[in-house]
């Protein structure tokens, strides 16, 4: 909804063009407002994770140390967690700890949760980023194509694909993909980031395997990593493609119904020019918001996909922690994904304001 609301055409407001200096001031004010809104939203998110971790469980101590902990450990943890203090003070201490990057210890790995998250995040980032590239490179042209041929069979096919993005469970598509393209056809690599033979042969520098392998001068490992990335990225790419194509189509249809398009056609401008120069140009800016939303959605979608593909990323970390009742890890993972989600959303909003001359 928010995308559609924010891309509604602004009625012809004739505003005096400010000087460059005034524009920068206004931009800074905008950025300040966005910063405050990001901060408040993240604070709200922290209130929710605090609530989930400390208020809902009947015994948060048992939730943190397990129900077989000895009595003295239990009591020490209770005091360490500050559970003898009033709720607002607990929340304040929680916020301070989180801003310091202290999410507590993970029960299942025995490490500090923040170290775990730093270690696993690049795997998720690599997968989601390639996924969004696939989605944009295929989804935008498909949406434009469908709008240009509105009502044709190609339009129908692309519309149904778009709807499938809302109807197909990601985890199921991943499983079917494994059964068909890995087990039967052998076109792609199986679960995991690399074949077992290559495991641990590259030092994690950036944590992004493709880059690390190339840095280490191991093109064979990079090729193997790509082989394993293919299927999960294709699945993520499908969901982003479905959403992007659907939104592009609807934005393009709005433009193609405008009078300046009729004028261009009457003047005899070639059709490809009408589509790409006249109709597509104005929708590039709203598309940024669409792509941002889709990227944020992929980070969330990766939770399911990583479970299927045994991908050692943030999503897999969260689901493993869930099954071990490791609430510190679950809530930290939730907080990180939520915060990244919020920042991407707001960033695409800011980009939109900077780029759209009407919103400046």
């Amino acid at each position: 909804m928010s995308v559609e609301a924010s891309i509604a055409p602004v009625p012809g407001v004739s505003r005096r063009q400010g000087t460059a200096g005034r524009r920068i001031v206004r931009l800074a004010q905008n950025l300040g407002a966005v910063g405050i809104s990001v901060f408040l939203t993240v604070l709200g998110l922290m209130a929710i994770t605090f609530f989930i971790g400390r208020v809902i469980p009947i015994d948060p101590v048992a939730a943190a140390v397990g129900d077989r902990a000895p009595k003295d450990v239990y009591e020490a943890t209770r005091l360490a967690m500050g559970l003898d203090r009033p709720l607002y003070e607990q929340f304040y201490r929680y916020c301070v700890a989180v801003f310091r990057g202290d999410f507590g210890m993970s029960l299942s790995t025995g490490n500090r949760v923040v170290d775990d998250i730093v270690r696993v995040f690049p795997a998720t980032f690599e997968m989601a980023s390639i996924g969004i590239v696939v989605g944009v490179l295929l989804g935008v042209p498909m949406g434009v194509w469908a709008a240009a041929r509105q009502g044709s069979w190609i339009d129908q096919v692309i519309r149904v694909l778009g709807l499938m993005g809302y109807a197909v469970p990601a985890f199921w598509l991943g499983l079917v993909g494994l059964a068909v393209f890995y087990a039967r056809l052998r076109w792609v690599g199986g679960p995991g980031r690399l074949d077992i033979a290559y495991d641990g042969m590259v030092d994690p520098v950036t944590g992004i395997l493709l880059i690390d392998a190339l840095l280490a001068g191991e093109p064979a490992i990079a090729r193997n990593a790509l082989w394993h990335l293919a299927l999960p990225c294709a699945v993520l790419g499908f969901f982003s493609l479905a959403y992007i194509a659907r939104m592009t189509r609807s934005l393009m249809l709005d433009q193609l119904g405008q009078e300046f398009i009729v004028t261009a056609r009457v003047k005899g401008v070639p059709e490809w020019k009408v589509i790409w120069k006249h109709a597509f140009r104005p929708i590039r800016i709203p598309l940024i918001t669409v792509i941002g939303l889709s990227y944020a959605g992929l980070l969330e979608g990766s939770v399911m996909i990583e479970t299927i593909f045994s991908w050692p990323g943030l999503g897999n970390y969260i689901t493993t922690a869930l099954l071990n009742a490791d609430m510190n890890a679950v809530l930290a993972g939730t907080l990180v994904i939520g915060a990244v989600f919020i920042v991407i959303n707001k960033a695409s909003d800011v980009l939109y304001r900077i780029l759209d001359p009407r919103a400046r």
Partner: protein, 300 residues
């Protein structure tokens, strides 16, 4: 017959019932004119009938185990094959429709009224109440739903009731937004002013004058959201936080079939088809309803 149709389409209905039936008739006509919406309606109707008559449609007992029949491929005896405990997958999918229908109906019944009341109260009260409620709504809206639902279920404990509560908690903000937008328009209209002049309380105005006018856009939105609710519920079931065994929930069934996906593909694949078809049905029906009820917004 023609008399009935004329009565239904009468521009000046003489009773409330005539007006309502007339509107329903026009809506049905609009849906029937849209082939994709008809497909959606048929799918949703099939889901409801399957859930209602599951014992008649299923060929086997959905939880009866038969270890000699385990992991059999689809055949005349077992239309969708059998799972690792020899249970008939077709019968489990049929009974699973009851679970899915229960989940979507309960989530809709909790989240939609909650969102509507919050949105309507915010719009009607205005001022700081509006800002506080909408601030809360925005915070919930800007968060990833699936992860939030996961965290809630993790704290509440696995189970189908908790999954329903968690999904409802994450889905009310969308409805609050819509209800507020609609209520902002309605609250300035003259009939609301008239009711207020007659001394109606704020609560009464909201419940009996504002909320009924939000219902139609709410129905569209709920239908469109059904697919998302089904997918989230299936995802929770898949991770093991939703319905617990031996309940034949579709997501949990896919999860069981995961270990056999390479050789016994049908165990995980079949329940997935059910999810895809039902979700697609709700999407198509929702799109059709939107086109029929809200002619301003036509898109694909």
């Amino acid at each position: 017959m023609s008399g009935t149709i004329a009565w239904l389409l009468d521009e000046t209905p003489t009773s409330r019932m005539q007006a309502r039936l007339g509107r329903l008739y026009r809506l049905t006509l609009a849906i029937l004119a849209n082939p994709l919406a008809v497909v959606g309606a048929v799918i949703v109707l099939t889901l409801v009938l399957t859930a209602a008559f599951a014992p008649l449609i299923a060929t086997h007992d959905p939880i009866a185990q038969s270890l000699s029949e385990r992991l059999k491929p689809p055949s005349a005896a077992h239309w969708m094959g059998t799972d690792e405990l020899g249970r008939d997958i077709w019968s489990r999918v049929v009974y699973g429709s009851r679970i899915t229908l229960t989940i979507v109906l309960l989530v809709a019944a909790i989240a939609a009224p909650l969102g509507m009341v919050i949105g309507a109260v915010a719009a009607y009260a205005g001022g700081w109440i509006d800002r506080a409620l909408m601030g809360l709504t925005d915070i919930f809206l800007s968060m990833p739903k699936l992860i939030l639902a996961l965290a809630f279920v993790a704290a509440l404990g696995p189970g189908i009731e908790n999954a329903i509560i968690a999904i409802a908690i994450t889905s009310w903000p969308g409805y609050a937004r819509i209800a507020r937008a609609e209520a902002l328009v309605v609250r300035r209209s003259e009939f609301v002013a008239a009711v207020e002049l007659q001394g109606a309380s704020a609560w009464r105005v909201i419940v009996s004058n504002i909320l009924p006018l939000c219902v139609s856009s709410m129905i569209i939105r709920v239908t469109l959201d059904m697919a998302g609710i089904i997918l989230t519920a299936a995802g929770l079931g898949f991770i093991g936080l939703g319905a617990q065994p031996p309940v034949p929930e579709w997501g949990a069934m896919i999860s069981r079939g995961r270990s056999f996906i390479l050789d016994q593909w049908w165990v995980a694949t079949m329940p997935g088809f059910a999810i895809v078809i039902v979700s697609l049905g709700f999407c198509l029906l929702g799109d059709g309803l939107r086109d029929a009820l809200d002619p301003r917004r036509k898109e694909g």
